[in-house]
Symmetry: C2
Subunit: 519 residues, 2 copies
């Protein structure tokens, strides 16, 4: 038994051919005063398994009851250097259980696991060389444009009448699926597992309420003890015709309560965002192009926000599948400079209809190498980024008295101008204000006083004035996010710092504290 | 006297040195049963002038009373071919009085008239070769970054205590100003005259209420009879500290009621839009970057909408003065493909601080030639463009019953999907919805069934399906808005038409009815 690695017990028993999804099989693991109860599962051929994820090293005893009775002891060794435990949400960022920062740079391959072995192999090879550390992928197969093939296996066997027998999980499906998940997580990639989605011709999106929970129960028995897996309740929950909001809330609650380890849990929208403030939800997983609102959403949810669908780099005749590589790269930088996270996807139409976004295969686009460049920069920053406060967003939230207080504290502020601005903004109709202010958004974030990041997006500033803290010295770098170059402009910047810029778009400015650097 | 040309009567009289702004000098022009009363003005050196703009040909009699008494008759000849009268708002577009369509392609030179003669000359030379047919310019000089010079003249003489004597307009100022206006309008460029603005160190933005109206009265006496002039009450009315909303309403009402001809009248915002639905206002003049809302604003105001400030092409360290040429060009296309209009400006910082946006001089940017290309295309379309209806914007405004009716009329629509979409969009919080839907906006407009225009913006479609009317044949052109190329894709398109596109950004598709072409 090793900390942060799945511990598995296998027992032989009676061969089951019916109703083997939610067998009685409970294990209690105890270490000192801590105990954790987990459910085992039937794995076919008369094999009964219990999986456990030890989160602390130490001496464990375990007791299995139900379909199998057994007990034992194990010494759990401290984690190997390459194992860090589950990723957890901490404030508005992510960390592994051992405290190592995790910054998501995701991609999307919805039907990764539902392709033939050769294509899965190619996808895994591609992922190995790609900059992504998270992949959004579905448990159920996908039916949609360019996605009409049958998967090798389905999650369930069928009944005599041809309907899905959720009480008989397809063991071959799960073996293959877990192998794929393991190969992904072994590469250091988090599998953001989509539990339900609407693009379906087989009936998986329209199971009964009871069958949904039975499916989830079996999935949680099998997968909960595996690190590197996140639960995404849905892709586009709001387009799933067969599930009401209360169905989703029940699903959310079921997953949250039946996962013994608290894997990350989110729910992805098409239009109306899932309320990420709900207690079962660990972070927001949002589909939108409205990235200017990120600081507001982060403040509202007080949880990490991932733009899990910002459109895909490609050439489809659809709005969502036809952004340029440059735009994809900019969206990643906008998110990074908002203290949020972005997810990639790619939809170049090929003759064989193998598009990365759903089937995998190879990457054809120009954004991944630039996302790799961004990732290297972000991972060099000593701490998670938080959107800068201030600006118009803060102003419009102020009451008259608060403004007066602020102005009295800052005699250097142009008080009359601020009062005029505030009054005018407050008078705007809400929808005009939202879209108007979105167009004025500044992408800027900081990691405490250790690092400050500005993404200038499509602005072509010829110069820029940085407001850096006094009393620390910063190395200021000019970053061309498309050309992937970084030029040091100033080695000892401090306080108000004016820099010259080349008047082109796609530039970022990073100031890293020289002290912060060696932290 | 010629139709659409200023007719001027000059009389000699007593030389006035005090209080000569609002002298009693009234003229009544009659033609058949029509009469129009106009006010004359004192033009210095004992000269009294009355200006009149005949809008119909015919036999006129005139009677002048007040400081001067005189009468006479004139035959007004029908308009020369190059004169079309005032530009008027008609529905949501603009036409000259003779019915000729006017499509604004504006630029901005705020302090054009407040530069020395050599620079004014250079600006006019530049305008002659530029694609612009409207220029936003101020009556009062500008004080702001890069604008610290004194103008040759001010609109008023001063009192003994150094304050402005609004009762003594500076005749030399007006002579020079009118000469500049005439040279601009003779080039076929409309002067969008900004009557007040906040960027001031002389006190013009903080005149008393009475002085504001006295100034406007004199201005209207002098300029109303000149075609080619529009009234813009303000640049950024909401940043003018010395004027309340009711001051602005009074100014609006004063201008509307004291202009005998009904020149175009608008009011430009920084944040809160001026309510263009107000009866005195002829069109919306908006500063914003939120162009996705254009169809909504046009529908709301039922008047033409000009984005009179969409940022400036340049390299200033300000958000508003640092967009790329490409972005400027795209904003023009976005407006055009929304049935709206856009205004250019340029802010490249030069050593002499002569920036086009305020002082004029030369154009350094790459957008003007591309705006010329757009203008040529738009002016080839037989009629004004109107944003396409339909899409998500229309959907969210529907009630349940209206959706059911729509679906029952269109059995081919995916009813379940539309109901889900509608329910989800309606559940969104207003500000989330606004910004979310803005990101999904399609730029598409049409001129009746004669022409259909799609601007694909930054989308990189590899193919596109056009829904053209049945029963007419269209020539479909692919336009590269940056490269300024146009390629015919199909000479006889009809109904649903699929076209192949090269999967790059900055493309527009124009379908012009072969019948419409010869109209």
């Amino acid at each position: 038994m090793k900390q942060y690695e799945t511990f598995e017990l296998t027992f032989s028993g009676r061969i089951l051919s019916e109703d083997y999804a939610d067998i009685p099989l409970t294990a209690v693991f105890s270490c000192g005063s801590q105990t954790k109860t987990v459910q085992g599962f039937y794995d076919g051929d008369g094999l009964y398994k219990v999986r456990f994820l030890p989160e602390e090293p130490g001496a464990y005893t375990w007791l299995v009851t139900g379909a199998v009775s057994a007990e034992g002891t194990e010494i759990c060794q401290p984690a190997d250097i390459e194992h860090h435990g589950l990723v957890k949400a901490v404030d508005t960022h992510f960390e592994f259980e051992d405290g190592k920062l995790f910054t998501p740079f995701g991609t999307t391959v919805y039907a990764l696991a539902h392709q033939d072995d050769a294509l899965v192999e190619q996808t895994l090879e591609t992922l190995k060389a790609a900059p992504f550390n998270k992949v959004r992928m579905c448990v159920f197969p996908k039916d949609y444009d360019y996605n009409h093939n049958e998967p090798p296996y389905y999650a369930f066997e069928k009944t005599a009448d041809g309907s899905w027998d959720v009480r008989r999980p397809c063991i071959a499906f799960w073996h293959r699926f877990e192998t794929i998940l393991e190969r992904i997580t072994e590469m250091g990639i988090q599998a953001d597992l989509i539990l339900f989605h609407p693009y379906d011709r087989w009936g998986f999106s329209a199971l009964s309420r009871e069958d949904n929970l039975l499916f989830l129960d079996y999935l949680l028995r099998r997968l909960s003890a595996k690190p590197g897996i996140w639960w995404s309740l849905a892709n586009e929950y709001d387009l799933c015709a067969a599930k009401s909001l209360s169905d989703w809330e029940e699903i959310e609650s079921f997953v949250a309560h039946n996962d013994p380890y608290g894997h990350l849990l989110s729910c992805h929208n098409c239009f109306c965002f899932w309320d990420a403030a709900r207690p079962g939800i660990t972070h927001a997983s949002i589909q939108t192009k409205g990235l200017s609102e990120l600081p507001r959403w982060i403040a509202k949810y007080q949880k990490p926000v991932i733009i899990d669908e910002c459109c895909y780099e490609g050439n489809l005749p659809h709005f969502w599948g036809s952004i340029s590589a440059r735009e994809m790269v900019y969206r990643f930088w906008r998110c990074a400079a908002s203290g949020a996270y972005c997810t990639h996807g790619e939809t170049f139409l090929a003759d064989d209809e193998v598009l990365w976004w759903a089937k995998g295969g190879i990457l054809r686009g120009e954004s991944p190498e630039r996302i790799a460049f961004l990732r290297k920069i972000i991972e060099s920053i000593p701490g998670p980024l938080t959107a800068n406060s201030g600006g118009v967003f803060q102003l419009i939230q102020m009451g008259e008295q608060e403004i007066e207080t602020t102005l009295s504290q800052h005699p250097e502020y142009p008080g009359e101008f601020i009062r005029l601005l505030h009054a005018s903004i407050c008078r705007m109709e809400a929808d005009d204000r939202t879209v108007h202010l979105a167009g004025e958004h500044e992408w800027a974030a900081h990691a405490g006083d250790d690092a400050w990041l500005w993404f200038n997006d499509r602005q072509c500033f010829g110069e820029q004035t940085l407001q850096l803290p006094e009393g620390r010295h910063y190395r200021v770098e000019l970053i061309d996010v498309w050309e992937m170059t970084s030029t040091v402009l100033n080695e000892n910047a401090c306080g108000t710092t004016k820099i010259r810029l080349p008047g082109k778009e796609g530039l970022a400015v990073l100031a890293v504290s020289q002290r912060g650097q060696v932290r």
